[in-house]
């Protein structure tokens, strides 16, 4: 067993875990933050994307213990139902989701894209940058529109 201390959505947590606990598992099963989804568990789909020290990573492909001391932000940490994050609001307004399974990862990746590439994003850039996020429902079109609008609103 190993000890890990993280700051998740602004709250510090310390836990003793089996070292093989993945960050996704830790968030979902230990902290009950089930907004982070596990779609493939093989590092392909991006449903599990969260931010660690401000960078988007696949939480199914990261050990919780490797993040010791880190700041972690999940989909639960960016907005509330009454006060959505601009990227969440843009997904809602543009019908950027159907079943919603990929959405937390899409939104966390989209915010990372804005953090890295600024908030004026053309369609081509958005499509390239969403390489690591798979959606089985929407056909991506409305996701791309949502990301462009959400990015602009994050100004």
């Amino acid at each position: 067993m190993a000890s890990v201390t993280l700051t998740v959505n602004g709250k510090q947590v310390t836990a003793t875990v089996d070292p093989r606990t993945l960050l996704a598992q830790f968030l979902r099963e230990h902290l009950h933050l089930t907004g982070t989804h596990v779609g493939c568990d093989t590092s392909q789909c991006g449903a599990c994307v969260v931010h660690v020290n401000g960078r988007a990573i696949k939480s199914c492909t990261t050990l919780a213990v490797s993040c010791d001391g880190a700041l972690v932000t999940t989909i639960e940490g960016i907005g509330t139902p009454d006060n959505l994050h601009p990227m969440q609001a843009a997904f809602r307004e543009n019908h950027g989701l159907q079943c919603g399974f990929c959405t937390p990862g899409m939104i966390m990746s989209a915010i990372d894209i804005v953090n890295r590439r600024g908030n004026k994003l053309d369609e081509h850039t958005i499509r390239e940058e969403l390489e690591g996020n798979i959606c089985r429902c929407t056909g991506y079109h409305n996701i791309v529109k949502a990301v462009a609008q959400g990015a602009a609103a994050m100004n």
Partner: protein, 267 residues
Amino acid sequence: MYAFNYHAPKTVRQAASLLAKNTDGKVLAGGQTLLPTMKQRLASPSALIDLGHAEGMSGIEQKGRNIVIGAMTRHVEVSTSAIVKNAIPGLAALAEGIGDGAVRNRGTIGGSLANNDPAADYPSAALALNATIITNKRKISADEFFQGMFSTALEEGEIIVKVSFPIPSKAAYEKFPNPASRYALVGVFVAKKGSDVRVAVTGAGSNGVFRSKECEAALSSRFNARALDGVKVSASGLNADMHASADYRAHLIPVMAKRAVEKATAK
């Protein structure tokens, strides 16, 4: 994933001594290859020695006519580094083309070189740029380092600490990505330094990254895309799988080399 003991050393020296004590142990860098492999139970190290907290393993600097990159430097740092973009833009562009944004935020250059996946991007840059791999024990030239797929000159207990890339006069990388995995179906890195021209090919060889003598010979007399007109690469020893035949990969090598030379000689 099978259980393992976890260690987070603070220095390379501590990491090396932990690795010596745990003979079935492995170092963990970005985990973007090792963790998926462990989840599939294709690897079951008794211990993981996490390099993520070890000092002095990450960062990019120019030292004389070389760019020196720490083994734990993430792909995103190489792709956005002003130093790399200025001295070896082809290397920054290569890093930008690895996997996706989340993979680039975690994956490291040291992990990619140590793993020597036959379809990985970085091995081609190290080989074409004639890089030196610096470990906790010695310096290894790229020509000696890559020893066939998933196999390198690294010995038991040896850890890559940094990689030194001589700055070329011209260089570029061109990759034909596998449409599903985005790994290289064929990737070609061309580099010219003085009169020395090196062309390294990844994705195609059944024995991992290799230098294309045919392309090097053609480009040595004239470093110009047209010098590659009519150059044929033999399909023997090339990979054939559901994604591409050996003949198709052989065909792609001079095509990608040509595009890379066009990029390298533009402006």
